[in-house]
Amino acid sequence: MKPALLAENLSYSYGNLKAVRGIGFQLRPGEILGFLGPNGAGKSTTIKMLTGLLTPDTGSIHVLGNEMSLDDPEVQARIGVCFEEKNLYLNMTGRENLIFFSKLFGLKNFDTDTLLRRVDLSQRADDRVSKYSKGMRQRLMMARAIINRPDVLFLDEPTDGLDPVSSRTIRNVIREQAERGAAVLLTTHDMWEADELSDRVAFLNEGELFAVDTPDNLKMKYGKRSVKVRLGSGSHVREETIELIAADAGDKVRELINSHNVMTIHTEEATLEDIFIEITGRGLDV
């Protein structure tokens, strides 16, 4: 299958500061790729290059086989972008913002109501955006990003600092877009979100790409395969850890369940953050 997005050997420097150092990856239609990395890792710079806003110092970007360029309306018409910073027309209503952008994409018979309903903004559609909360603005930005049913969707920290309801709405929209066949590139420093949404994750640190794989494969490769069992009752509680790679692991678990009062059993698989730290030597919240 032809990749929806193909990036090869991308580099970018701000003066002497190398922000991105020769990274490359590809994204298939319908796939969600989570770009994980701390602040300053080069995630936003990568998105700016991928959307054509920045011209890479080296490397190439192809969207659906076409070279990415800011001056190519054909390519730009097939992508959707949701930036980290809010950039809406504050003096327009939510509905006016969407209608305005639909005209720029040349969309005819555009159904604003359905899109507004999808991001839970129907009730406030005719209020000026300046009166919207942060979550409402982000949901409107998400709606704007998918206005043209893009083939490739770039989302830069789409749920950063949002309330749980807004975050859930946005995550649902992301899943729907992927199910529709859009390739989604999502940057985040929220490892839980990346784990929840992404088919594959990529670790980016100091402009370098460290690993690109499915969350399960990464956990299998880097995580501890063990279960932690809490036994007892009242104040007499003890914990036992059973390594799952041991040959008799199944027998041990069965024995504990049969002979003791088991309170809880938890798998001890590594989180993406643990793996990120193990690979890069640096935390995600830096």
């Binding site: 806003l53 730009q76 720029l104």
Partner: protein
């Protein structure tokens, strides 16, 4: 560049424009500036002599004064009212015309006529009014002036009233403020709100954005200048030559506005640019005020090439053929400035993304 996308951008700006204080100011500016210049400024610097008359009988003197242009005439209902008028400096001269004044004048009885001058009246007005009253009385006596007066001004040119002298200045103000501010403010607004980035990741190109701002700026500038000319009664002479001048001026000012808009990252920088560089734009005016300065220096300013035609048409009665060469140069200057915007827009795009 795509006309449909440009039109979509213009319609978006129009929708937002009526919610923006800067655009609203541009829309009302011709009315405000015309009012300020023609009413307040002229009233301060070109005051007309004011006469107040109390006519106790049916003297024809009142109707003679009513026919005279260039004075302001008011009527008092009683001598006390006239006295109050003069004391409050609401008139320069008060005249009390007694019953039978006209008949006494015709009979050669030399009736007494008392002048009540306001202490606050200008000496020049007192002289003008005194001579005027004598002229009026001579007319009422059916006597002709003993001499034929031929008027000569210092530079042998037509005497131009101050209200007309101000027209080029008013139009220039509207041209510069609307022509420069509208495109510059619209561009800076997109940058400040971050919407420029959002536009660039749609099929819209930088050229579409720049052209849409210039188009809206151009349309508003030409419209506002025409409203200004109409309000000041300046369209009767050479409307086509004025239209051509305003079009050339709008092209130059819009190009400068685009340069300001691409250079400035926010409104504060834009205002600083405008404040520090606008002296270069209105510079040619200095050469009209101080005619002793070497006039060739004025031609260095890009705005000279439409300011001079504007001045020539409105004040010297020049027609299109007299100014077409300068207007052609103005258009070339505008196009060259527009071309200079291209590399600046690339720099702006890179700075925006970084």
């Amino acid at each position: 560049m795509n006309i449909r996308r440009v039109w979509s951008l213009v319609s978006g700006d129009l929708r937002l424009g009526f919610r923006s204080p800067v655009i609203l100011w541009v829309l009302i500016m011709p009315f405000v500036i015309t009012f300020l210049m023609q009413v307040v400024f002229v009233a301060l610097f070109d005051p007309q002599p004011r006469i107040c008359i109390y006519n106790s009988g049916e003297s024809a003197i009142t109707s003679v004064f009513e026919r005279i242009e260039g004075i302001r005439l008011s009527h008092a209902g009683s001598p006390a009212e006239l006295e109050a008028y003069i004391e409050n400096n609401n008139a320069d001269l008060g005249l009390v015309i007694e019953n039978g004044f006209d008949q006494a004048l015709r009979d050669g009885r030399k009736p007494e006529l008392e002048y009540f001058f306001s202490g606050g009246s200008l000496a020049s007005n007192r002289i003008v009014i005194s001579l005027l009253v004598l002229d009026v009385l001579r007319e009422m006596e059916n006597r002709e002036a003993p001499v034929e007066v031929v008027l000569h001004t210092g530079d042998e040119e037509e005497v131009v009233p101050l209200t007309r002298k101000l027209i080029p200045a008013i139009v220039l103000l509207v041209l510069i403020i609307t022509g420069i501010f509208v495109p510059a403010f619209l561009l800076v607004g997109e940058k400040e709100q971050g919407t420029m980035k959002a536009l660039l990741v749609t099929p819209v190109t930088v050229s579409d954005i720049l052209f849409s701002k210039a188009l809206l700026g151009f349309t508003m500038t030409v419209t506002m200048c025409f409203i200004t000319l109409m309000l000041n009664g300046a369209l009767s002479g050479q409307p086509l030559a004025l239209l051509a001048t305003v079009v050339a001026g709008a092209v130059v000012c819009n190009a400068i506005g685009l340069i300001y808009g691409t250079l400035a990252g926010n409104a504060k920088t834009l205002y600083t640019l405008v404040k520090s560089l606008n002296i270069l734009l209105v510079g040619p005016i200095l050469f009209y005020l101080f005619t002793g300065l070497p006039q060739w220096i004025a031609k260095i300013f890009p705005t000279y090439w439409f300011i001079d035609p504007l001045y020539s048409i409105t004040l010297k009665g020049a027609d299109f053929s007299d100014v077409c060469f300068k207007l052609a140069i103005a258009l070339v200057v505008g196009i060259l400035l527009g071309i200079a915007v291209v590399p600046m827009s690339r720099r702006m795009q890179r700075k925006l993304a970084e």
